[in-house]
């Protein structure tokens, strides 16, 4: 069986002129980059645009990657910056999802998922719905911590903050997510009754 190449080995191949090695790198990390972008944009089309743009930027500055951190940490920092710039350009509403407009947006998101009643009651559905109601920064930190396998130091590098600030933000983000989740589940119980 052929041994899977590491990120660093793939990067070395790309820098040596093997462009298809970059396609392997994209395939490997596209889901996480896309998920991270989606935490900001809340729309799949925009998230794809941001993620694609980030991969192109990463390719162009691959020779500048110092390899002092994980490739994913470096890539996520590009995704984070690209998504922030995208939001600034589009002037999207990044307020908390407490207001009516954003609540409507969440409902639309939920209807987009087109899940059947059994799936709608699944834990995963509610967790994802709750996370989509968080501020982009909170959702990003939670995603990086639990999904992106990034340490606090690495998250700090991605978002350009102090490690202690990230730690506090992680606690607060989880607290808010818990509140949102409880709110959603209470609503569901009320609907069932």
């Amino acid at each position: 069986m052929q041994k899977e190449l590491t990120d660093i080995e793939l990067i070395e191949l790309v820098l040596a002129g093997n462009q298809s090695a970059y396609a392997d790198l994209v395939k490997r990390h596209q889901r996480y980059a896309f998920t991270l972008a989606l935490r900001f944009t809340k729309s799949r089309e925009d998230a794809e645009e941001v993620a694609q743009d980030s991969f192109v930027k990463a390719y162009k500055s691959l020779s500048a990657f110092q390899q002092q951190s994980k490739f994913t940490t470096w890539l996520y920092s590009i995704v984070y910056t690209t998504a922030m710039n995208f939001l600034r350009k589009k002037k999207l509403k990044t307020d908390s999802m407490d207001d009516d407009a954003v609540f409507t947006q969440v409902n639309l998101l939920a209807s987009d998922l087109k899940l059947d009643s059994t799936e709608q009651k699944s834990r995963s559905y509610y967790v994802n719905l709750a996370i989509s109601q968080l501020l982009p920064d909170d959702a990003t930190i939670i995603t990086l911590f639990y999904q992106g396998e990034q340490s606090l130091e690495e998250i700090a590098q991605v978002v350009g903050m102090e490690t202690n600030t990230v730690k506090v933000k992680l606690h607060r983000a989880r607290h808010r997510l818990k509140e949102k989740l409880e709110g959603l589940l209470k609503q569901e119980v009320r609907e069932l009754l």
Binding site: R31, N128, I142
Partner: protein, 162 residues
């Protein structure tokens, strides 16, 4: 978020010190409220693996690679100029100039028929013009120029500060 919750999250994440960990473990065995809060947070933590990783569209990788190819095709002409060609053009002109210079030097008749007479240059006496009015005018102009540059410097400085 209260302090207990923060302490418990630090304990769950493994961010607390050895002393803090021991103190929390004592509280967990002795305090029922603390234990309940811990169970609540652990139950919440158990939900985290169900956070979905989203899948982009099927042609995502292809689109990225296409964008990269398009970017490369769009490289400006100046970055594609071959330095060898520039060097060759430069060398051609230098050679032409050297050949012409050599030809001129060779064809010059170096034997002068008569001694060279340098023309005499009469420098007018400058001190005649430096009367007090001219000196004062010159100093006034310098002061105005100095103030103008000082104003420019402060404008740039304040803009940078803002």
């Amino acid at each position: 978020m209260n302090e207990t919750e923060e302490q418990l999250w630090n304990y769950i994440d493994g961010f607390c010190t050895e002393d803090e960990r021991k103190a929390i473990e004592i509280l967990l065995t002795s305090d029922a409220n603390y234990r309940n809060k811990y169970a609540e947070l652990k139950a919440f933590e158990a939900n985290m693996p169900s956070l979905g990783i989203e899948e982009p569209s099927m042609g995502f990788t292809f689109k990225v690679m296409e964008n990269i190819r398009a970017e490369q095709a769009r490289v400006p002409l100046k970055t594609r100029i071959n330095t060898g060609i520039i060097g060759a053009i430069g060398a051609f002109f230098i050679c032409t100039i050297l050949v012409l210079l050599g030809f001129v030097l060779v064809s010059v008749d170096w034997s002068a028929p008569s001694p060279v007479h340098l023309p005499e240059i009469k420098i007018p006496p400058v001190t005649n013009y430096l009367n007090p009015v001219v000196i004062k005018g010159f100093l006034f102009f310098d002061v105005v120029l100095g103030l103008f540059f000082l104003d420019q410097y402060f404008r740039k400085f304040f803009i940078r500060q803002k």
